[in-house]
Point group: C2
Chain length 424, copies 2
């Protein structure tokens, strides 16, 4: 792994894959087709792209039962415990509606309401993770969303992965459709005979899914466009190189485009970690992927001081940040940008990926500068409440009319003056 001394500006940001014009046209055609031909288009694209002829989009009770036969009972208990932890953490995020009253009779407030419905995209292939089902669905349930629909592309045998079905069923999700790609996003945004449209679509997917989400943004809400995953470890000389290396590799095995970075003022730790990475790589079943990721997107940055290392972390704005220093709590306040912060040597990233409670759907590619882990607020919306009394409009009406006239909006002024006139 390459070791680089840094002091100036660096960035993890890879170019956002915004797709080719060709891919965009394909996606626009699929969306138009689904808007027009609805279910029929869904069956056709599923045959074309997933190479399977389905009789029904909706998952049956029998398929759920079959899934349970494939998954170990012990694993099911772990999934339940993880779900409990995730639910507990997210329940602490719930916000209350509030109001404020004034002696002149004015009442102002903010009403918080769950979305009516949400659509969750679960990617297919090797990325079909039961944990992603928990992380997507639970915040929506805690927010109070009444209807949650899940979509996922079928395997060639026409089924969905057993772990995904078990996780969904454990959460009480019954609306599960075997459809993926841009066609699934179009169905969730516009509705078909089988799939009723939703208000918001969350969850990552391939480039066609990302392009489709970007296109339907505004018709429905979407979460962020996900990029490849990344970890930054901030460590000083007290950190164990074997831990640092293992955590960097756990990120690297995800994807050849994943990025694993160590930032440290300790040259010794840098060298030991590089060595450990080479050694630990050998034993990994996904060695090729991890090796390519470390080669192309991995780095060890050595700084002069710990403060410089912290500033480097802020420039990277990583999705996952592990802090393995002598006093990790002294550093939190200086971290301005990070999706999820793991403190101390026992908090390895998989603790948060699966089990601890916080969400693992996180801002990637430097977007932690301005976005957040998926959370309960993402599945609610706010409404302002304004209630003026006769006294408050009498007191303030002429000021409001004057401000309206400054902007040349006479009917605005008159609408207020209607209320004043009668009492003159």
């Amino acid at each position: 792994m390459k070791i680089v001394s840094v002091s100036g500006n660096i960035s993890l940001q890879r170019d956002i894959d915004s797709g080719s014009e060709e891919q965009r046209k394909v996606v626009l055609n699929i969306i138009d087709d689904v808007k027009e031909n609805r279910d029929k288009a869904l069956f056709q694209y599923t045959e074309k792209f997933d190479h399977v002829q389905l009789e029904s989009l909706l998952i049956s009770d029998e398929e759920i039962k079959e899934a349970y036969r494939e998954i170990d009972n012990e694993i099911i208990l772990y999934i339940r415990e993880a779900a409990d932890n995730i639910r507990d953490y997210h329940q602490r995020q719930v916000k209350q509606s509030w109001m404020t009253t004034d002696q002149d009779g004015t009442i102002l407030g903010q009403k918080i309401t769950p979305l009516d419905s949400a659509g969750v995209y679960v990617p297919g292939g090797t990325a079909a993770y039961p944990s992603s089902v928990l992380m997507n669905v639970i915040p929506a349930q805690v927010a109070g969303v009444q209807r949650i629909a899940m979509v996922s592309p079928p395997q060639q045998d026409g089924r969905l992965p057993a772990g995904v079905l078990v996780a969904a069923n454990e959460l009480g999700i019954h609306e599960i459709y075997k459809v993926g790609g841009a066609q699934a996003i179009a169905a969730l945004a516009y509705g078909t005979e089988t799939i009723t449209r939703v208000d918001k679509i969350t969850g990552p997917g391939n480039i066609y899914v990302a392009l489709a989400k970007r296109e339907v943004f505004g018709v429905v809400d979407i979460d962020m466009i996900a990029g490849p995953s990344e970890i930054v470890v901030l460590a000083d000389e007290t950190a164990k190189a074997s831990y640092v290396a293992a955590d960097l590799l756990s990120q690297a095995e995800h994807d050849a485009r994943a990025s694993s970075v160590l930032v440290t003022p300790s040259k010794l730790l840098a060298e030991q970690t590089a060595l450990e990475i080479t050694n630990q790589l050998e034993a990994l079943p996904r060695k090729e992927i991890a090796e390519a990721s470390i080669r192309d997107y991995g780095a060890i940055y050595v700084t002069e001081t710990l403060d410089e290392a912290i500033e480097t972390v802020n420039q990277l704005a990583p999705e996952h940040l592990e802090i393995m220093t002598e006093q990790p709590y002294e550093i939190i306040g200086k971290i301005r940008h990070a999706g999820s912060i793991f403190l101390g040597e026992n908090s390895s990233e998989p603790v948060g990926d699966y089990f601890a409670g916080p969400n693992h759907i996180l801002p990637t590619n430097g977007t932690a500068r301005f976005s957040s882990p998926l959370n309960v607020d993402d599945f609610t919306k706010k409404s302002s409440i304004i209630s003026y009394s006769a006294q408050s409009i009498q007191m303030n009406g002429s000021k409001i009319a004057a401000l309206a006239r400054l902007e040349g909006l006479e009917a605005h002024a008159k609408s207020v003056e209607q209320r004043l006139g009668e009492r003159k």
Copy 2:
């Protein structure tokens, strides 16, 4: 104004203007040009589109002083009072970071951090409103955003409207640039010699601005893509037709594509309101705009019952909702979708547009189903905090490793087991 009896499904939703392919190409070219030629491109596009040759993009102290000479002192006092009200309301939205501790040593939490910087787009022409400056900037300031940059297209005399400059100066905003259109959005997203890039861009604009915001989404965050404005009045037989008509017209004067709708179970109120609209229209300086809006996008829906009227409102999911019924507070709980809710006959929409405190930047075109008024949360982001103790990793490590292996991610399992091995 047309009166329609309704019972089935209705919708305010107009097609989202997603622009032509031609417009999209223009915008992509502008963005590329600004990325490459930076300030030089900004000056060129300003000359081309705004027909003015600037020497400097940054507003000078002299221009601010000049603006103050144009605005009435009384108006400045009203602007200050409005700003105080807006600041007070938004301060009540501020969220605290939190944490939770467990006896096994686990600490979980959520850290809330303001964005480093925000860019505010203030449209030009007749839509250059001082009130929009207050509504855009104050939530960012309350959130704690350190750097706020404002952009707005110059008038042909090379200046910005006095009201806009005064409002900005009252808020202590000094980074004000005379540049608009897609080129301003590109500058805020990618940076130039003069304009440093920001983390988030808010504020409405024309179709080129909307397309540019959509393109840079992901590089920076953006607020919603704004559509034409709308009001729905929900009223029963106790409402005054003259108030209802005046409020519908105050929306209609904004834009020929604005939509003004009355929903009522009272046929009498429907007829009286239609008559009032015809009468009040005559006196309006923006009569042509209001008349076209009422004709093309206005409607009075008459329902059988008040509950049906409420359900119709939910289907419309309006930006502004006025409730003028005998008991408005009994209805709030039934309203699932609305940007801003105005209660009772004294709460006319301009009260919220200018003065009361809640934001006037609201979700349009049915997007109140899933989005919120601009608020303090829009200018902060969250980071999860996960801190496992030696005890908590010992208790849970093997479960986490099992869940990782279920997903085929061996390096994830090993990263946890590194922590268990030593203590065996």
